[in-house]
């Protein structure tokens, strides 16, 4: 117990606390001026909004992939299973460059979408695409073992009792995997909020439009405005922590309500 706390302090809490200390050096007015400036606010909105959207999209399609991996046998399954982890393993900058070359107006997918008037690269949509790519493994890897553990016989039991496929999904499977799905969602969301490398290539980084909060921090650092950077970091930290706390509370509430 003691060791756990010492370790947690050393690795997580002390580095984080210095952020607050540095930010405190600004004073309240200075903090608000930088941390809650119009540019910073639009960056937060973009970062949290796109991360939320990407995590939601991943929750649906990640669940689908986890489902297929847990329930079906097909040639090349091992390959697909391994490919799911690629976004984990790939240096994020490589991912970013790959996405840009695909979605730029002269890229494979970008050139198909351009006539439809859809621009992906250098827009907030591009940010969402990058975050979907980055967040996918979190959902799949959280849900897959739970689905495998759930077993096909529970689905079959529901079917023999007369449930439709939708009823089986919504009343039997979803409640059983909800905690894992929520965990995966929270992880994907947290990763999305903090993601830097893959996003900056595809985002275009226009202030007020497609500039994400982590980039704003880096921009401040490059101008040697350390207190300014920490002020933004502070706001992000508090926001992220409260969202993760919310998810955890939701989990605890669920756990209390169902299996005691």
């Amino acid at each position: 117990m003691g060791l756990t706390i010492v370790w947690l302090c050393l690795i997580v809490l002390i580095p984080l606390s210095t952020i607050f200390l540095r930010a405190a050096g600004l004073g309240w007015d200075g903090f608000v001026a930088v941390g809650l400036s119009a540019r910073a606010l639009s960056a937060y909105k973009l970062s949290f909004g796109t991360a939320l959207l990407a995590a939601s999209v991943n929750a649906v399609f990640g669940l689908l992939i986890a489902w297929i991996l847990a329930r079906y046998e097909f040639p090349g399954k091992k390959f697909v299973d391994a490919a799911v982890d690629l976004p984990f393993a790939l240096p994020t900058a490589v991912a970013g460059i790959a996405l840009v070359s695909l979605y730029a107006e002269n890229g494979w997918i970008g050139s198909l979408l351009a006539p439809l008037g859809i621009r992906v690269a250098y827009t907030p949509l591009g940010v969402v695409v990058a975050l979907i790519f980055i967040g996918l493994p979190f959902i799949v890897r959280s849900v897959q073992p739970v689905l495998a553990d759930l077993g096909a016989d529970v689905e079959e039991a529901a079917a023999t009792l007369g449930a439709t496929r939708w009823q089986t999904f919504s009343r039997v499977i979803l409640p059983a995997i909800a905690p894992a799905l929520l965990t995966g969602f929270a992880l994907a969301f947290a990763r999305g909020v903090g993601e830097y490398g893959s996003v900056i290539f595809i985002a275009g980084n226009m202030p007020y439009k497609s500039e994400i909060a982590p980039l704003l921090i880096v921009t401040q650092l490059e101008q040697f405005d350390y207190p300014g950077a920490t002020a933004i970091a502070c706001v992000m930290l508090v926001a992220s922590f409260s969202m993760l706390l919310l998810v955890n509370l939701l989990q605890a509430w669920r756990a209390k309500r169902s299996a005691k």
Binding site: D153, E156, A158, T160, G162, R171
Partner: protein, 343 residues
Amino acid sequence: MSIVIDAVSKRFGQFAALNDVSLEARPGEFLALLGPSGSGKTTLLRMIAGLDFPDSGHVLFDGADMTGTPAAERQIGFVFQNYALFRHMTVADNIAFGLTVRARRDRPAKADIRARVAELLDLIQLPDLGHRYPAQLSGGQRQRVALARALAVEPRLLLLDEPFGALDAKVRKDLRRWLRELHDRLGLTSVFVTHDQEEALELADRVVIMNRGVIEQIGTPREVYDMPATPFVSEFVGETNRIPVTVADGRVLHHGQALDVSPKALANGPAELHFRPHEALLGDDAPGALPIVVGAVHKRGGTWRVEARVDDIAVEIDTSGPLPERGARAGLRFDDVQIFPAL
């Protein structure tokens, strides 16, 4: 409800799970599908349930073709080997599930569902456990909840896959008797799968013995025990001693010596003599008897079990005495034997 299985075959890749299987269950019958693992018994049960579908052949309920009908529309109750209870639901919600998923116009009112659940909880003798979760129940209790859940939808047919497989011996015995009573009381048609011959013989009206995707024999417990149709049935049901013999011109020869048994219209050639421990009479090593060398003797229930050898083949004989000496030569005569052509 009657079930007819008509010439059903099913392959999984290269493996022939069922090969041209035909079978009929009469209304109100309690049928056991008995066989070793891989014999196709579970596949057959899943096909009746609509969880698997045959490559060829037909499944009929009361004369109506159900071959392609999915499980949800068959009005059956299915009890899974590992119960497959919904872990996030209480016992009461588990039991009510089949009623609550019905389309609105067929769904009973909430109060009616509650009454039905209470009734079923009484039936499975767990009246006070409706609010618990499956994780808080013992194996035997879970099994009964799974049964109540299957019965809640008032199925025409109850299907059970190794219903007592995961339970310890004592609980198993009690549940067996209780299930049989329940079946008779509710007037159901039931089919259950088991690899335990004792269970099949005790519970079922008729036993279907399966091996490698085909039916070896269908009969009452008495028929399959006393008159096994094939060497496999003789070997699989009950204890059996097997001695290689030769059939020649209406006589049964063992090492050239004729035995006092009838070959029952068997063609000439190598054959196998099957007899159960209680079917042999221990006597002198006289002409016409099967010569044995006596080994260990021990008490078994009300009789003595004599271990002996015929050449190098170990045989077991039950006798009430007098007991032979160890190492003595003796002979066996038979009330009743089965002789099968050698494979």
